[in-house]
């Protein structure tokens, strides 16, 4: 780090806790004028909390922030905007029931300036539109355009690219570059390391609410970022985990050839929504992966299997008997259970971990009488222990971190018992450490005789977790691989419906 010029923004030892939950222990951040700076870290590392502290959305408990060499204390988002800090938050700061023009008047932004900023990004939006009618990516771009009209010293982009299609994301990177050329700074928060390496000058990495490193991504590359992010112990553990996963895979494959009796869930030529005739059998003791791009029918497939959607045609069988669920209750009763991609869909956010885990036990309206609290407590505790759920904030599930919430959705079915576990992107938006635990858990459940259907948006997970992988494209199965053969390149080709090399197909 060069010490010649005072940095534009310097944060030292910023800390914030909510009751017993520490969101930020001691974060340091130093941003020079005219640089694009990345802020990285796993989920729950404290990135968003730090941004909120810098912009005055929340008040930090400790630490100092100085802007241009002078200590400051941001009192409100507007207050910090006047000092040259313009944030684009993770959730759009646009009021849904007002029109775009009204929203701009609300913040005192110049409509003409916003329009010209949008034009510079080659975007056109009707200013008479109700904000609630606009799609999320457009709202992010509007928020960005509004922030740019202040010509901020420091533009803060909190996971702006997460919701953007690539053509809009490209416009954001262009804006970042223009800011740098104009001698302004950008703080860029993202999970996508490739974006960091392509467009950021330096990166600060947080772990567990602490500053653990600042580096130049172009020099260190992805490997160094991950190493710093995971920390020395974790990196070691990760190596071990992948070793174990590799060691385990041949064992999983080396089982006796599956027979018809092992089929837990049979899917025969089903059509539903984008699904155009998919057939497969999910066997006892296996993890069957589904690899697909967005919108290839996988969501409808999961919904149909979980009883949320009616089949248009085709047949389902569970343990050899016909299975026609009309309601999730039917599916749960046959022990075909779903872990949905959005955790909050499955959870009762205001209730305790215990109630969330125990919920399916009481799903029959005909079940009356007292609840066996001791037995319930035992089975919940078993599941909680097995998954290592952090019970510090267990009174209300909504206060748990994303990873812990996801574990609760799985723990529920662990306690209830299942024949087929349908995991629709179970690791979406959770941190690396928890992901590892989820992989290990899924493998363990399969070894114990469970049958697991596994969809993921992260291709690297398939060889780690799955025994077999089906690639789906255009609502059809295009290829089947052995888990070990499902490397990223092969999967990608199959997911795009491309022809495959003979030997890659199992």
């Amino acid at each position: 780090m060069s010490d010649e010029a005072a940095p534009l923004l310097e944060a030292r030892g910023v800390a914030k806790h909510y009751g017993p939950v520490v969101a930020l222990r001691s974060a340091d951040l130093s941003i020079a004028a005219g640089e694009v700076h990345a802020l990285l870290g796993a989920n729950g590392a404290g990135k968003s909390t730090l941004v909120k502290c810098l912009t005055g959305v929340i008040r930090p408990d400790a630490g100092t922030v100085s802007l241009g060499g002078r200590p400051t204390r941001a009192r409100s988002p507007m207050h910090s905007a006047r000092r040259g800090l313009s944030p684009v938050f993770q959730d759009p700061a646009l009021v849904p029931d007002l029109t775009v023009a009204q929203n701009l008047r609300l913040t005192g932004s110049s409509i003409d300036k916003v329009r010209s900023q949008l034009a510079a990004m080659n975007l056109k939006v009707g200013f008479g539109e109700l904000v609630g009618d606009l799609p999320l990516p457009i709202l992010r771009m509007l928020d960005l355009a509004r922030a740019l009209t202040y010509d901020p010293q420091l533009l803060i982009l909190d996971e702006i690219t997460a919701a953007l299609p690539s053509d809009l994301a490209a416009r954001v990177f262009d804006v970042m570059e223009q800011r740098r050329d104009a001698g302004r700074s950008v703080l860029f928060i993202t999970h996508r390391l490739a974006e960091v390496i392509a467009s950021c000058d330096r990166a600060t990495i947080l772990r567990d609410g602490r500053h653990v490193g600042t580096m130049v991504p172009r020099e260190g590359g992805e490997a160094q970022i991950v190493e710093i992010m995971l920390g020395p112990e974790a990196a070691h553990a990760e190596a071990k985990a992948s070793e174990r996963a590799e060691a385990e895979l041949p064992a999983a494959e080396g089982q006796a050839p599956a027979t018809k009796a092992d089929d837990v869930l049979e899917v025969e030529d089903i059509h539903v929504g984008a699904v155009q005739g998919i057939s497969f059998a999910l066997r006892r003791g296996e993890v069957l992966g589904l690899a697909a791009l967005e919108g290839q029918g996988q969501d409808e497939l999961f919904e149909a299997l979980a009883g949320q959607r009616k089949l248009e045609s085709g047949e389902l069988r569970v343990a050899g008997k016909a299975f026609r669920p009309r309601h999730p209750y039917d599916a749960v009763r046959r022990k075909v259970v779903l872990v949905p991609p959005d955790r909050l869909l499955a959870l009762l956010p205001q209730r305790s971990v215990r109630e969330n885990v125990a919920a399916p036990r009481y799903n029959s309206p005909l079940r009356w009488g007292p609840i066996n609290m001791r037995e319930e407590g035992r089975s919940v505790r078993r599941a909680v222990d097995a998954l290592g759920i952090d019970m510090r904030a267990s009174r209300q599930v909504r206060r748990l971190s994303g990873g812990n919430q996801q574990k609760v959705t799985i723990a529920r079915w662990l306690a209830f018992g299942f024949a087929a576990l349908l995991c629709n992107d179970p690791t979406r938006g959770i941190d690396v450490g928890t992901k590892r635990q989820v992989y290990a858990l899924i493998r363990e459940l399969a070894t114990d005789g469970g049958a697991i259907l596994f969809f993921s948006s992260e291709l690297a997970e398939f060889p780690l977790v799955c025994d077999r992988v089906l690639a789906i494209y255009g609502g059809r199965v295009t290829a089947e691989f052995a888990g070990a053969a499902a490397d990223e390149a092969t999967l990608l080709r199959a997911m795009h419906g491309l022809e495959l090399d003979e030997e890659a197909v199992a």
Partner: protein
């Protein structure tokens, strides 16, 4: 390095007329319902039109103000259950003090009472925002407080107001046949709401009701705005209490009881979403007239007043269900 993709991304929403219909459709519909009721109302009545219109306007005036007060609070994302009883407080206070006043004194005293009601309501808003107790709980408590205060000021109906003051509700504008009672509501809307509605404070009220978080991130003082909404609602509530005094000529500590829930009914019927951020006062005024007229119609038909409430309740649910279905259809 990256360059801006050359193709322009344009977002086109619904056609302008469709959007206008979505934004104002409900308001227009309530006015149409009101107009549609007129022929039936006329066919039942024996009186001449001018007299009937005047009676309707006088009857509707206190509810109009109560509903406007409720609408402002509901748009800001709250709900005020104390409106009716605060109206009663203003009613008895004015009737007790104005008995021997001249018209001018009565007018000046009215302004004082409006200010008082605004402060009382603003105080409620302050309690809500500072303690973060839900609106419904605090205003329910205030409902009982004001009820007690009204009884404390005046135990049994009594008092009075100057004749000229009564005339503000009962007379006509000049020599026209426009009832004062309707004109006063219009003036209050023009003076108190319209300027605020189109300036930042009004936008802020809508913003806070629509999404508190987005409003905060947009730099709106959320607490200030919510208290402001209660203050403004207090002005309308004060006007409502005075309307009771002027139209009835006396003070009655129990006069406000029906207005709280009726104001909620008018707000819902008038197209204001109970979730906040949606709707306007024009529709709510029409809804207050619809409710009043339906009561008169049922009375003219000779329906037992006890059953009349059943019809009114069914009407409210029907209109809201149909309206809800229609707006949902146009949403997608």
């Amino acid at each position: 390095m990256t360059t801006v993709p050359a193709d322009v991304v344009e977002f086109r929403g619904a056609a302008p007329w469709r959007r206008a219909l979505r934004l104002h459709g409900w308001t227009i519909a309530v006015w149409l319902v009101l107009l549609a009721m007129v022929p039936y109302w006329r066919s039942l009545s024996q009186q001449d039109f001018k007299f009937d219109v005047q009676a309707l306007a006088i009857d509707a005036m206190p509810l109009c103000f109560a509903a406007m007060a409720q609408a402002v609070v509901v748009i800001s994302g709250g709900i005020d259950l104390s409106i009716g009883s605060l109206m009663a407080v203003i009613n008895v206070l004015s009737a007790r003090e104005m008995v021997d006043m001249s018209f001018r004194q009565a007018l000046a005293f009215s302004l004082l009472l409006i200010l008082l009601a605004a402060l009382a309501s603003g105080f409620t808003g302050l309690i809500i925002t500072l303690t973060r107790i839900p609106d419904i709980v605090v205003t329910l408590g205030m409902l009982f407080v004001w009820q007690g205060v009204a009884l404390w000021i005046m135990e049994i109906p009594g008092g009075g107001v100057p004749l000229d003051f009564s005339n503000l509700a009962l007379g006509n504008v000049g020599s026209t046949s426009i009832p004062n009672a309707a004109a006063v509501v219009l003036v209050a809307w023009l003076v108190l709401w319209l300027p605020i509605r189109w300036l930042r404070p009004g936008l802020a009220i809508y913003a806070v009701g629509s999404s508190r978080n987005s409003a905060y991130l947009s730099g709106i003082g959320v607490t200030r705005t919510r208290v402001g909404a209660y203050l403004l609602a207090g002005c309308f509530t004060g006007l409502g209490g005075l309307a009771l005094s002027a139209s009835s000529g006396i003070g009655d500590p129990n006069s406000g009881t029906t207005y709280t829930l009726n104001s909620v009914a008018a707000v819902v019927l008038g197209g204001v979403s109970l979730l906040g951020g949606v709707g306007g006062l024009i529709g709510v005024i029409a809804a207050a007239y619809v409710l009043t007229m339906s009561k008169i119609v049922l009375l003219l038909r000779g329906t037992d007043p006890n059953y009349a409430n059943v019809y009114q309740g069914v009407l409210i649910i029907l209109v809201v269900v149909v309206g809800g279905l229609l707006t949902r259809k146009t949403r997608t």
